[in-house]
Structures are given as structure tokens and as C-alpha cells.
């Protein structure tokens, strides 16, 4: 009986939070031209980063001169489905880790190479390339019980009012999605296209960069790059997006 209650409690806490029954990717809120741009691999600028990531995958690194391919072989096989279950639990730190973090951890721990800087061209290219291998696959719900407290933390941050404008993520993305902010339609804030080519940046960028933009938007001091708050938020967003397909590289306005 206690065990059943425990399992129920875990399922409710970790099972994820969809904003409502109508779960829609940011793709659905874009103009048809932007949608067409994302869907055309011959025109999607994000594919330039996939191309670079493909080359970097083969680049030897570290004192032993081993490339990603040296251990992982063909990314199309070995990386298929990986992005759909990130952020995931990282044993050494006992915390969640996102895909960029995992790639840098691999570089350091297993290739013996310098990690790429946050938001660097190479890290973005590799992350986009790896995430692209999961394109079309549904984001997996968070079932690892060890991640439970971090999903809860992410949810708390998502619902916390911040900044001079005193707005929470939830205020716009749970309660007012589909309505307009300035000239733009407010999406539900799903992470499924990341790293994205944002038209505003004219470059590919990470989910953290986008969240920093939002924090600046409500006149809050953004968390530092790689801050645990961001990883918790990313994890919560993953749980909240469970079922939606990975779109990397997404294009967003």
C-alpha cells in the first residue's frame, strides 16, 4: 500500500507537466515562411551548424588523438534518440546535465581535451549535429527518480516571478500562449528545436541563450552561463514537452 502510494507520488512529481491538453511546438506559432525555412534542409541556416558538427565529429582531440567517431562510430546510429532524453542524470556530479554539458564532459574526461567554451561555435555545432540525429523522435518523459527533485526545482523556477516586470515564465507561456506580446505570438516555450537558428540572432544558439533573452525581456538579471538554475529549467522544460518531436535545427523568429 505504502509502495503503491510512493509510486503514485513519484509518477505525479516526475511525470511532467503539460501546460494544458493542447500541446504545441513553437513551430506551430510561426509564420508560414519561417516554417518553410525550417523544413527545407537546403535552405535552413541551422544546417550549416549540422555540417560543421559532422566535421567536428571526425576531428581527433586530446593527447590520444581520438575523435567522437573513434568511440561512438556513426552518429546517425549511436546518437539516435540521445537528445530526446536530455537533460539526463549525471552520476559523477549527482545533478542533471544537458547535452552541451555532456559533450564537454566527454571531451575532458574521455578525450583528455580542453572543453569547448559555453556557446562557442564548435560546441553549438557538435550539439546541433548530435541533437539533429534525434529529429522526429518524441521527447521522452523524465522517469529517472533521481531527477525528481530537479524537475521540481525547475518547475519552481518556471513559476517564480522575476525581474522588474515581475513576470514568471508561466505567466506568458502557460497562461497566455497564443496571445500577442508586441507583434509576436507567445509560444508554449518548448525546447524541442534547440539548438535553434534564431532569426533575431542570425546564428544558432542554445536554450540557455534563449532563456537569458527572456530574463532580459522581463528586466531580470540572467543567471550565469551554465548555472544550475538553467539546467533545472531545461530539465523541467523537457518533462513539460514529453511527446513533442525533436526538431533540431529549429528556426525561430
Amino acid at each position: 500500500m505504502l509502495r503503491a502510494l510512493l509510486l503514485l507520488g513519484v509518477a505525479l512529481a516526475v511525470g511532467g507537466q503539460t501546460p494544458h491538453t493542447d500541446q504545441r511546438s513553437g513551430f506551430d506559432f510561426m509564420a508560414p515562411e519561417t516554417q518553410a525555412l525550417q523544413q527545407d534542409d537546403t535552405a535552413n541556416p541551422g544546417m550549416l551548424w549540422v555540417l560543421e558538427g559532422e566535421a567536428l565529429w571526425q576531428d581527433p582531440a586530446g593527447p590520444a588523438g581520438v575523435s567522437c567517431a573513434g568511440c561512438h562510430g556513426d552518429a546517425a546510429e549511436s546518437m539516435r534518440g540521445v537528445a530526446a532524453r536530455y537533460p539526463s542524470f549525471d552520476q559523477p556530479t549527482g545533478r542533471p546535465i544537458d547535452l552541451q554539458g555532456r559533450i564537454d564532459q566527454c571531451r575532458q574526461a574521455r578525450q583528455g581535451a580542453e572543453p569547448f567554451a559555453a556557446e562557442s561555435q564548435q560546441l553549438l555545432a557538435l550539439t546541433t549535429y548530435v541533437a539533429h540525429q534525434s529529429r522526429g523522435m518524441p521527447v521522452e518523459p523524465v522517469t529517472d527518480v533521481r531527477l525528481e527533485p530537479f524537475v521540481a526545482e525547475g518547475r519552481r523556477l518556471f513559476e517564480q516571478r522575476i525581474g522588474q516586470l515581475d513576470l514568471s515564465c508561466a505567466a506568458c507561456h502557460d497562461q497566455r500562449w497564443g496571445q500577442k506580446l508586441g507583434g509576436s505570438v507567445i509560444p508554449q516555450a518548448h525546447p524541442t528545436g534547440y539548438p535553434i537558428y534564431r532569426l533575431e540572432w542570425q546564428s544558432v544558439g542554445s536554450l540557455q541563450r534563449r532563456m537569458r533573452n527572456c530574463m532580459v525581456g522581463v528586466r531580470a538579471e540572467p543567471y550565469a552561463w551554465g548555472a544550475p538554475e538553467f539546467t533545472a529549467l531545461e530539465l523541467y522544460l523537457r518533462s513539460r514537452a514529453a511527446g513533442l518531436p525533436v526538431e533540431t535545427p529549429g528556426v525561430r523568429p
Binding site: A31, E33, L181, S184, L199, E200, W201, Q202, V216, G217
Partner: protein
């Protein structure tokens, strides 16, 4: 150095000085009208023959997809030489000039442009017979929400 050249250099120097001293808002860019006259040389600019596709409203001005197609057989005797795109309110009027020829087979180009704000865009086609044809479109540009603070 001839007198004429020295005079031109002096005038250029004075002009540059004026430019540096003038506030940026006073630095007028060539008008759309001046820019398309520049492209056309002395030729009359006639509306027609140019099919210009650009969305009437864009959600971000950084990457506006356009296509230009010109009705032309693209033979050695009768083809499009250049297609130019010009704007009304960006910092400068020229956007891109395509150079075509009979080897193209069709006069059809597509690209992505930056539009600083809502404005009129003009597409011009110069034919091998020297005639210049035009099409224009008005575009409304909206801004993304929640952007970077670069300052």
C-alpha cells in the same frame, strides 16, 4: 598632380569632414528613387515583366525570403542581364545585384534580405536590349519579443 584632381581631393576632404561633423541623423542616404535611377542608367523604368514575391508581413526583418522571376526567353539575343533589389528605409538603398545571362536558362533568383523596418522594396530587371522593367512591394516588419541586450 593636376589642378582639377587637387580640387576634387580638396572637395572630397571637405565632404568627408562635413560627414564626420554631421550628426548621423543628418546623413541622408540616397533615396530609393536615386538608387533605381542609378541602376537604370538613363533608361526609362517600366513596370511589368518582373514577378516579385516577398511576404507582405514578416515576423523578423533579419531574413526575409524573396524570389524574383522575369519573363524572358533567356536566349543570346534576348535575355536578362541584371536583376537589382533596392529599398526605401535601410541605411543604404542597394541590397543585391544579380548578373545573369543566356546560360541561366531562366531568369529566376531567390535570396534572403535584411529589412530594417516596414518599407517599400523595388525589383529591377535590365534586359539585353537595354530596357529596364520593375516591380515593387510594401513589407511590414514586426520585431521579435525578448531579445538580447547587447549594450
Amino acid at each position: 598632380m593636376g589642378l582639377a584632381r587637387r580640387a576634387v581631393l580638396a572637395a572630397g576632404g571637405a565632404g568627408l569632414l562635413a560627414l564626420l561633423l554631421a550628426p548621423s541623423s543628418a546623413r541622408a542616404r540616397p533615396s530609393l528613387e536615386e538608387a533605381i535611377r542609378g541602376f537604370a542608367g538613363g533608361a526609362e523604368i517600366r513596370p511589368g515583366r518582373v514577378e516579385f514575391d516577398i511576404p507582405p508581413l514578416v515576423e523578423n526583418g533579419n531574413a526575409v525570403g524573396v524570389t524574383v522571376a522575369v519573363d524572358s526567353p533567356m536566349t543570346a539575343a534576348d535575355h536578362v542581364r541584371r536583376i537589382g533589389l533596392f529599398n526605401e528605409k535601410n541605411p543604404q538603398p542597394e541590397m543585391v545585384v544579380f548578373h545573369l545571362g543566356p546560360r541561366c536558362g531562366r531568369a529566376s533568383v531567390a535570396t534572403r534580405l535584411r529589412l530594417a523596418t516596414s518599407q517599400t522594396i523595388v525589383a529591377l530587371a535590365e534586359m539585353s536590349d537595354g530596357t529596364v522593367w520593375s516591380a515593387e512591394a510594401d513589407v511590414i516588419v514586426t520585431l521579435a519579443a525578448c531579445i538580447e541586450d547587447l549594450s
